[in-house]
Symmetry: C2
Subunit: 133 residues, 2 copies
């Protein structure tokens, strides 16, 4: 299949696929006219990449999983290198969660201190903003 179909089937864009190729994660055969040509294995690789990205892995961290798949394994996570990434991610997640929980506690305490307070303020206008996690 060509890049457009692969993108559609994987629920992504051609731009992303070319980017993965550029990063050495998705080498592509070329047809005579220079078009990239992909097969079902490539689709599996892209799905692996996408599902890992979706849970917050960096693209680079998906590499062992993709290589594991390419090596002929049923899934990308049966290889030691993949499991190593998983473990590192677990540590990072634990650190991150702990930090966020500490911040949460700190913010919650601050809210409590200043909630019913008439210790209010003297002026200051209002505004809005956006999210981001």
């Amino acid at each position: 299949m060509r890049i457009g179909e692969l993108a559609d089937r994987a629920g992504t864009t051609t731009r992303s696929l070319r980017y993965y190729e550029e990063q050495g994660l998705l080498p592509a055969r070329r047809t005579a006219n220079g078009y990239r040509e992909y097969d079902e294995d490539d689709l599996r690789a892209v799905n692996e990449i996408r599902s890992l990205l979706a849970i917050g892995f960096a693209l680079e961290d998906t590499r062992p999983f993709v290589e594991c798949l390419r090596a002929g394994n049923p899934t990308g996570d049966v290889c030691p290198a993949s499991v190593a990434v998983y473990r590192r991610k677990l540590d990072e997640l634990d650190d991150c969660i702990a930090r966020l929980q500490a911040v949460r506690a700190q913010v919650a305490a601050a809210v409590e201190r200043n909630q019913g307070e008439d210790s209010c303020c003297k002026r200051s206008p209002t505004r809005t903003s956006r999210t981001g996690c």
Copy 2:
């Protein structure tokens, strides 16, 4: 005091202070020669900004706190607008923590599935990478 001293005392850089000014968070008086001149209130404002940034607030989210301080309040968080930001941040933190915990569980399960496994792989090299939370 001038910008270099303020930066030193606040534990940041002149670049950052100029950026805060550019964002309208830290207006500066100028001396005759064009140098920025700051006082102790400005130091407090910068400290407020820095401590909020340090716990993951966006610069824009520090605005109500700074304005609250500027309005003459003892701390930046006694104003309703500040508390509103706190509350929104709490929600964001809860969402974020929940997502990360879900991911953590998913990754932990995957590690468990593939840990002692001789279901190993067939080849695939090794690599390294870096952190980031």
